[in-house]
Structures are given as C-alpha cells and as structure tokens.
Amino acid sequence: MAGPAPSVTLRERTSDPSPAAGNPKIDVQSLSFYYGAKRALEDITLRIQANLVTAFIGPSGCGKSTFLRTLNRMNDVLPGTRVDGKVLIDGQDVYAPDVDVVQLRRRVGMVFQKSNPFPKSIFENVAYGLKINRMSSGRAEMAGRVEESLKQAALWNEVKDRLHESALALSGGQQQRLCIARALAVQPDVLLMDEPASALDPIATQRIEELVYSLKTTYTIVIVTHNMQQAARVSDHTAFFWLGKLIEYDRTDRMFTAPREKLTEDYVTGRFG
C-alpha cells in the first residue's frame, strides 16, 4: 500500500472509515505469490473490512485475480505456485498447515466470470454443497435452504415453478445468480467474485450489482472487475493493482474522485501507459 492511511481533510466525512480502520475480516500481510520463478504478486499488505464490498481493479495481468484466488487458496490447484506471507481470516492464517482447505472454501465462497452451473437441475445445483458438506438433516430442511439461497440471490421468483428443470436452460444472468445462490447455500462468511458480470448484458449486470449491494449486509464481498464504473457503483473500498503491486487502496469515492497516486489517477482517467 502506498503511503499511510489518508489524513482526514477539511470536508471528509469522518464517519466513513478508511480501509485501514478497525478490525479487518481479512488481513493480508506481506503476501507474495510465484508462478514458478515469476513473482506475480509483490509484498501485498491490505486489510478487508467485514460487511463491505471491496473491489480490485487494474489492467489485465496486474495480479488482481491471482490475489483474489489467494484468499481461499484457489491457486493451490495450480502446479509450481508458491505463496509467501500471510492471509488471516478472522485472525486465522489460511495457509497454516492444519487448515482444511475444503472447509476454508466453504467459508470463503467464489463466483467466477463465466457462470458454471452443474449439468443438473436448478434445485440440485443449489443443494449440491449442502449434500457434500452434510449441512441439512432432511428433505424439508434442504428444500428450505435451497429456497432461502435462491431468494437471497434474487432468483427464486423466476425459478420457483421449475426447480427440477435443467440449470443449463436458464439465461446467462440467471445462471450467474444461480451460481451465487449455490455459493450462498453453504453459508459462507466471505464471497469472492471474479468479474461476475463481465459476460452479461447491462440489465443482467444491473441485477448482479443490486444483488451485491443487498448481500453485503450479511457477507464480506470482494469483487474483481475490469469495469471501473462497476467498481465505483458497487464497492465501498477499492484497491488498484499494477504489475503485481498494490498501488493504492482507499475508500471508493476517493479513489475515483481524488486518488493520491499518479498511477491510479492515470488508470482511472484512461491515460494509462
């Protein structure tokens, strides 16, 4: 992070905390990440607050998605990768040897750029995580959880009469919301979203953005996006990455109206490179 937390200037709303304030939900300390010999992330230190939306922005290849994936160890599946530093979630190091990665990913759910429903029914998609995590004791409880998750993902009204039809028959936007419902069903604390709306039309995008806004009261949300207007609309805090480094991290309104770093200024005004 470049420089200390911003000082409170004349007209700043002091009730609006900077990302550095308070106890973080996710506390990343000096994190570096390597693909073989190549260092893809350099010494990232950043704290993510609970029940807010944090957006990661930056040009392609800046490391923002790689960084997102370090938060629930999704990079573990890639051969030849290595992590230095710490990622603490609720004070617990997710890279500690005794961490159950399956449990970690249940707590830290993920939604990807391209919706990836299983080739099963809508119901089965949402129920899948509940089954493998043995999170419901009977059919009624299972059905209740599925309904609740679909409601949270603002999809229930559109699918309640065809729960047993194939998920693949849904539209792109509906499939993406189904994937969000699937992630929510296992009751995570944190939701990681990697370009969740980049393949969607403007109306479906708006629904996802509304959904993100409504979900933040319950979850801590981290979203990677190429779309700066989207980051500006949905997030409370924004981190700007460039060449594997964290250049600036601040309240979103400041990042887009008065960034402190020249690189951020150049990126958000489209004068990059």
Partner: protein, 224 residues
C-alpha cells in the same frame, strides 16, 4: 482506448477555451458597465444592456458540452473534478454577465441625475472585481492554486469598500434628499460589484477543488 482519450482531451481543451471566451466576455462587460457609469456614457451603457446574447449562448453551449462529456465518457478523478468545476464556473460567469447588466441599468438611471460626487471607490471596486475575475480564470487555465487563494483574500477588500461607499453616500442622502435616488443607484452598483467578487471567489474555490481535490468553501481560516 488511446484514441478515445485523445478525443476526450480535445473535448476538454475546447471546453476550457469556451469557458475562457465566456470569462473574457464577462470581464469586458463588467469593465464597460463601470466605465459607462463613471463616464456617464449612455452609448456604452446601452451596449452592455443589449449585449447579453453571446454570454447566454455560451452559457447553454458550455452546459451542454459538460453534460455530453459526463454522459459519454463517465470521467473520473481530475477529469471529473474539472468538468464539475466547469459547470459551476459557467453559472458563476453567467451571473457576472447579469450583474454587469444590473450595473448598466443603474448607470443609465444615475446619468439622469446630476452627479452626487466624484466617483473614486466604485471604480476602484470595479478594478478589484475585474482583477479577481481575471486572476480566478488565470488560475483555472494555469491550475494555479496559489493564485486562486490570492483571489479569496481580495474579497475582504471589496467588502470593505462596499461598506465605505454605503456610509459615505448615507451622509450625502442625509444632507440633501435630492441625492437619495442617484445615491441608491450607486449603493446598488457597489452591491453588484461586491457580488461579482463573490462569484470570482466561487471560481477560485472551484479551481482549488479541481486541482487539489480540496474543498475550501465556507472555511475562510483555511485560506490564510
């Protein structure tokens, strides 16, 4: 991306040029209205009274440009602050143009009466107001916050002169009731000039916000 940024920068450049044209017109009209008053020259005064159209046209054109840039480019950071500042500066300059008309109206009425006194403070106020306007626009072009801050400091001098003009004319009015009508017009003029200084101050504050993202409005002590 590059191409559209270049186009956007061209548009920003045009916006700035138009705003400066408008500033030039506003300054000139303030100068002419005060000159018409002092010289009791009705020809000049009438030119101010009937010459509002170019400023009004620019006012509309600049607003349209700003709306278009906001809608099409969704600018961020310094670009966003620059366009928001342009919208505000635009209305300040339009108001300055209107105040010049108000001064010309008072000058016209004043010329119908014998002069109350030799005018010294009012021309001085006119000079200060024009200088403030000029410096505020200069600070906009040069993105010079030090110059903008110097404009804020001038405002006190203008306020002081306005009070002085009022007190002086009060004594004339008390002594001779026939001076009441022309004196009231002079008091109005001083009030209009003081308002022009306020608009220049607004512009300077917008420049400081545009350049440094610092909001200095309503915080006079910060200016020192």
């Amino acid at each position: 991306m590059d191409r559209s940024v270049r186009h956007f920068e061209e548009e920003l450049g045009t916006l700035q040029t138009r705003l400066l044209e408008m500033g030039g017109l506003a300054e000139e009209r303030v100068r002419a209205s005060v000159h018409g008053l002092v010289a009791r020259d009705l020809e000049i005064t009438d030119r101010v009274l009937h010459g509002d159209e170019p400023i009004n046209q620019l006012h509309v054109e600049i607003d349209e440009r700003c709306f278009r840039l906001l809608a099409l480019y969704q600018p961020m950071a310094t670009d966003l602050r620059g366009i928001v500042a342009a919208v505000k500066i635009n209305s300040d300059l339009e108001r300055v143009g209107d105040l010049a008309v108000n001064i010309a109206e008072a000058a016209r009425r004043y010329a119908m009466h014998p002069p109350v006194k030799q005018l010294i403070d009012i021309p001085r106020m006119g000079e200060i107001a024009q200088e403030m306007l000029h410096d505020a626009l200069d600070s906009y072009v040069r993105r010079d916050t030090a110059l903008a801050r110097s404009v804020l400091r001038c405002d006190d001098e203008l306020d002081g002169l306005k009070t002085q003009v009022f007190r002086e004319l009060l004594t004339y009015m008390l002594q001779d009731a026939s001076t009441i009508e022309p004196s009231l017009d002079l008091i109005l003029v001083s009030r209009h000039l003081e308002r022009i200084g306020d608009h220049a101050t607004n512009i300077a504050e917008d420049v400081i916000f545009m350049v440094s993202a610092q909001d200095v409005r309503h915080h006079a002590p910060q200016v020192e």
